[in-house]
Amino acid sequence: MEFFGEVVAWFGDPANLFGPDGLQGRLGEHLILSAIPLVIAMAIALPLGAWIGHSGRFANLVINIANVGRAIPSLAILALATMLLQAFIVSIGLRQFASEIATMIALTALAIPPILTNTYVGISEVDDDLVESGRGMGMQESQILREVELPVALPVILVGVRTAAVQVVATATLGAVFATGGLGRFIIDGIAQRRYDEVFAGALVVALLSIMTELAFEFVQRRMTSPGLRGGRIALREPAQAGRVNGV
């Protein structure tokens, strides 16, 4: 019980809450470290997945790459990205953010497969009759994709985005091993210096952030699902969900 008192005291100390090394700064770093890779991954994987789903080309290749990628531990991806890219990042004059950039590249690589597979699966599983009626109504291919396939596939696509978001927020914690900022610092530094109140407090904030990310994206997913799909209890598969690797 004494220990929990220490944890409460840790949260009560303004030095731990404010400033760049406090919760405030670390949370900000963590969000930036997660948001940039997620946005880049979406910018790459959404159009690519939509195109693959619509045209049916390269589908097997993409699924295979995603499956192989799942077997590589996140920690290994972070370590390899850091060691292979750091020298290059420093050489182009970004020494100050070398760890962060390497970690964000690794996180982008982790975020792409769930978004890509779900977008591809979502689009390719849209009922052929819907697509055909679109064609019959004189819609162009790009119109079919935008006005028929995307809205119908959106719930499945958003599950992919949610999976990626949760994974990125979780894995960003491990960035601290490779000298980035973010909430993982409390855990990694705390373990190194045997400050267990800080370790526990850091873990608490990381866990809360992960759960809140999951809930927030679930909310968005519900709000953005077309009412026509929401009521009908159409079975929506969650292909990337099954093998989701949690933060590592």
């Binding site: 531990p73 949760v166 927020v169 091993v177 866990a207 992960s210 759960i211 949690n246």
Partner: protein, 215 residues
């Protein structure tokens, strides 16, 4: 790539691989036992499904490093118990869901046929339902094992060795790419071997399915 280092350090690589395999096997065996008991419990008392799946879902959403960190103040670093509590709790969501789905997938007629032949409930479970549910259960074991092999790399951060020790402690901390590569490739190989192993096991345990595909 420093091949000489690999040859000189085969002992260390072997030992780290063994640590990795042990941590994984313990987590899967205990996780499966707990999930199996929970699944049987849920069959008796179906109102338990919501709360149990809910709790294991929340545990599953917590990043591994954070879950280890929650336990470190109590069980300490370099204690396998710290890792195993977290690893086991990750397996439960995957394994329990698949065991339940597998048992639910047994066709009604099959159950009725077993009842009609005079099977007791426990005979029916062991001789009819579980064999029919096996492919779905094995699918869960495959996902759980591949996931855990990835997560075990993180246990190096709480002083438990494994292939994560090669990736981080020897590789990254001493900036020695060979060690990081050996650890990473090792983890992927373990995952592939475990996955194929379960496919083979399923084939051995369900000879009727093989016969059907052959004929």
């Amino acid at each position: 790539m420093d091949w000489g280092w690999i040859v000189r350090n085969l002992d260390e690589i072997g030992q780290r691989t063994l640590e990795h395999v042990l941590l994984t096997v313990i987590a899967i065996v205990i996780g499966f036992a707990i999930s199996f008991v929970l699944a049987l419990l849920i069959r008796r008392m179906s109102w338990l499904e919501g709360p149990i799946i809910g709790v294991s879902g929340v545990l599953y959403a917590i990043p591994s490093l954070a879950l280890f960190a929650f336990l470190v103040p109590f069980t300490g670093i370099q204690n396998p118990l710290t890792a195993e509590i977290a690893l086991v709790s990750y397996t439960i969501l995957i394994l329990l869901r698949n065991i339940l789905a597998g048992l639910a997938s047994v066709p009604r007629e099959v159950i009725e046929a077993a009842d009609g032949m005079g099977y007791t409930p426990s005979q029916r479970l062991w001789k009819v339902e579980l064999p029919v549910a096996l492919p779905v259960i094995v699918a869960g074991l495959r996902i759980a094992t591949v996931t855990i092999i990835g997560l075990v790399t993180v246990t190096a951060l709480i002083g438990l060795g494994g292939l994560g020790y090669l990736i981080v402690d020897i590789g990254y901390r001493r900036f020695f790419l060979t060690a990081t590569l050996v650890g990473s490739v090792g983890a992927v190989l373990l995952a592939v071997i475990a996955d194929r192993g379960f496919v083979l096991l399923q084939g051995v345990l369900t000879p009727w399915a093989r016969r059907r595909t052959e004929g």
